[in-house]
């Protein structure tokens, strides 16, 4: 029966012999001198029988067999390996898809075996792989020592296990080897990849560069660096091309996927920027609070000395209100700068959402608020005031996006870190409470979305937005070890998602008691007031004296320690600024505590309570007051410390 046959061997003598032999038997024969041309022929030619030499340069016989077996139209082709190595190595050629193996040797013997194998190919059942090597009877002694084989296998394991993609290409840029990673990177099956044109793998814009580089190699390795990556199958790739200066002049190409690395780098850069702005914002807020403190103190003093009927009384109370607004602004900045949580306790987010949204709804009648709050929501560990600020900022933001009215949908649910998959974050595993805030407003473009959490970025007209609302939301959520992201498209709804870590702690009485309106309480104790800012010292001294206290002053840490040492019996309480040059509040506190273990100290700062302040409090410090404080707040703080046992 006439057969279509392909013979692949790199030796012309073998090809000629096989062609002669098979044509004499009236078969149709094509020959190929290597794997690449064989694959090329197989694109249009479907042989019944294929003879494959095992040892060939570039694509070797074993690989070629595997590829052929993977091609649907050739799965029934009868595959015969030509080699002596198979016998020598004890190679199980059936494993890579061959039906038979013929040992190379004198042509008369080979002729017999070839014809016998062809005969076998007629009789075999489909899929039946024979395991007999024909002609292996001692004709060919050791071809390859086992040692060398193990070296070759060793390198193969390394190549296949590498994290980089490795390709080998001919001078014509045809691919003759591809390790598993490079196959994955190109997204092409191996049988297509091998023999295909290397440069054509890349997008057209990159081809010229790669081609030029291959042309100008002159025996030296070439690299396409991370700064100018090429695009391969949607990935950003760094290439290194290493010429193999042997007779075949092939080139090994090392492919490194840097898509993820570049994305991380960009993200890191952005995070770094936000951190830097945060530090700056925190610093400004601190100085600003000190200024407000000065204004507040002066006003407090004036108000203490005039009756409510005085013509300036109303204006002064107005100024006091404005100072309070200013202070709120700085506390948002501090929130963004993540300068700490105030009081952290287990709270019920549902309750906060309900309360704040009802209050908010009353001020914005044109907005319909929908609540989809999960029952049995995990409690979260958070500062109630800060979370309220987050909620209000999100409501305001949503409402401003719906100037003509619309729907505001608030949803809470219990989730795990798995829900954040594919986001920018690498969340800590565990339970989270997810709050989604969706509005049916104008949406935003990508440019806006990128900058949405940047401080001082606002799309609102001059005078309406500070650009701090969402920045502080971001800061607060970060400070609570939470995550926030936003989804929006221009003209469509916008959704903010906030993930806050759930806590195992039981929910306590949820609402903090509202601020008690204490009357100014006078006293007659002696106070050591420590601050490095003259303006603060001046007004605070006046305020304290007006309240009836005797005041000692220190303008720095060392001075404070000296004065306390001399007057420790007289001094009832120390009001201590936390941030001072040379010797900071923490150090001063420790020194004072050495002098008198029972000392009473009220810590004050233009920063809100942060890690540093909390540490001092943990070491026994009696209280904390945030600047700017008014007379009432100050007198209340002092009394509660002095009167405590």
């Amino acid at each position: 029966m006439k057969k279509k046959i392909l013979v692949v061997d790199n030796h012309p003598v073998m090809l000629k012999f096989m062609a002669n032999l098979l044509e004499k038997e009236r078969h149709e024969v094509l020959t190929a001198k290597d794997g690449v041309s064989a694959l090329h022929i197989l694109k249009t030619y479907t042989p019944d029988v294929i003879f494959v030499d095992l040892i060939m340069p570039n694509i070797n016989g074993k690989k070629l067999c595997q590829i052929i077996r993977g091609m649907p139209n050739l799965k029934d082709a009868y595959l015969i390996v030509l080699s002596a190595v198979a016998i020598e190595e004890g190679e199980d050629f059936a494993e890579f898809g061959a039906n038979a193996c013929i040992a190379k040797g004198p042509f008369n013997k080979m002729a017999q075996h070839v014809l016998y194998a062809l005969d076998q190919s007629d009789q075999r059942r489909s899929g039946d792989l024979a395991e007999k090597t024909l002609g292996g009877e001692g004709v060919y002694p050791r071809e390859i020592t086992r040692e060398l084989l193990s070296v070759i296998k060793h390198f193969q394991v390394i190549l296949e296990g590498m994290a980089e993609g490795i390709l080998e290409i001919t001078p014509e840029a045809r691919i003759v080897y591809a390790n598993p990673i490079s196959i994955a990177l190109t997204g092409m099956p191996e049988e297509k990849l091998l023999g295909s044109h290397f440069i054509e793998l890349f997008s057209e814009t990159d081809r010229q560069m790669i081609e030029d580089m291959l042309k100008t190699m002159e025996g030296k390795p070439q690299t396409i660096s991370e700064e100018s990556t090429v695009n391969l199958h949607g990935k950003q790739i760094v290439l290194k091309m290493v010429p193999i200066s042997r007779d075949e002049h092939t080139t090994v190409v090392i492919l490194n996927d840097v898509t993820e690395k570049k994305r991380m780098k960009a993200q890191l850069l952005r995070t770094g920027k936000i951190e830097a702005i945060g530090t700056l914002a925190g610093g400004i807020a601190h100085d600003f609070n000190n200024l407000l403190m000065g204004i507040q103190g002066n006003i407090s003093l004036m108000l203490l000395n005039i009756p409510p009927t005085h013509p300036h009384y109303e204006r002064l109370t107005n100024i006091e209100k404005m100072v309070q607004s200013g202070s709120k602004l700085t506390s948002q900045l501090l929130g963004y700068a993540r300068k700490g949580k105030y009081e952290v306790k287990a709270i019920d987010l549902n309750q906060l959402v309900e309360e704040t949204s009802y209050t908010f709804g009353r001020t914005r009648k044109e907005i319909n608020i929908h609540r989809e709050l999960a029952e049995d929501l995990f409690p979260i560990e958070a500062d109630q005031g800060q979370i309220e600020q987050v909620l209000l900022n999100l409501y305001i933001n949503a409402a401003d996006a719906m100037s003509g009215g619309g729907d505001l949908i608030l949803k809470t649910e219990n989730v795990t870190h798995n829900r954040m998959k594919g986001s920018l974050y690498d969340p800590k595993p565990g339970n989270y409470v997810l709050l989604t805030v969706t509005d049916t407003g104008a949406g935003m473009d990508e440019e806006t979305m990128k900058r949405i959490f940047d401080p001082f970025f606002t799309t609102k007209e001059m005078g309406r937005g500070t650009g701090l609302g969402l920045a502080s939301v971001y800061g607060i959520i970060k400070a609570h070890s939470g995550y926030i992201d936003v989804d929006s498209r221009k003209g469509q709804e916008t959704t903010f998602r906030i993930y806050l870590p759930a806590t195992g702690a039981k929910r306590k009485a949820q609402r903090g008691e509202s601020e008690k309106q204490h009357e100014m309480t006078r006293g007659k104790e002696t106070i050591l007031f420590v601050d490095d800012e003259d303006m603060i010292i001046d007004v605070s001294q006046e305020v304290l004296k007006t309240l009836g206290y005797k005041v000692l002053l220190a303008r720095g840490g060392r001075e404070a320690v000296e004065i306390y040492e001399k007057n420790k019996d007289k001094i009832d309480i120390v009001i201590l600024d936390m941030v001072m040059p040379n010797m900071g509040g923490g150090q001063v506190y420790d020194r004072l505590k050495e002098i008198n273990p029972n000392i009473k100290v009220l810590l004050s700062s233009g920063y809100s309570i942060d890690g540093q302040a909390s540490e001092i409090l943990e070491r026994g410090c009696n209280g904390f007051i945030q600047k700017p404080f008014n007379v009432k707040q100050l007198s209340e703080s002092i009394r509660s410390i002095v009167e405590s046992a």
Partner: protein
């Protein structure tokens, strides 16, 4: 060397045999050139590949002396050594040249 007998042993008619010999000579000339330059620069891998090619074809055509010599060189090279391979390679060349002369002396 009795080429008529050799051809007979291989089950080939003489025309076919000489055709294959001609191809062998061409390929081996290039293989041997490759082999010499590989040995000169101490390239083991290339030495193995070149001499392996000569060896295979020699075995096919029943040139046993060439086969044995080439096998010796290959085994040596596979043990990472090129010591003393120059002499066998020289003899292989001589043998090939001899076959070449006989080929050219053939009545056309």
């Amino acid at each position: 060397m009795d080429f008529t007998k050799l051809a007979e042993d291989l089950g080939l008619d003489e025309d076919e045999f000489w055709e294959l010999v001609e191809l062998f000579l061409e390929t081996s000339a290039s293989d041997l050139g490759r082999l010499q330059s590989a040995i000169d620069r101490g390239d083991i891998q290339q030495t193995v590949e070149a001499v392996h090619s000569v060896k295979g074809a020699a075995a096919n055509l029943g040139f046993e002396e060439i086969y044995e010599l080439a096998k010796g060189v290959e085994e040596k090279a596979r043990e990472n050594s090129l010591d003393g391979v120059t002499e066998p390679v020289r003899i292989i060349k001589e043998k090939c040249d001899l076959i070449g002369e006989m080929f050219r002396a053939m009545p056309v």
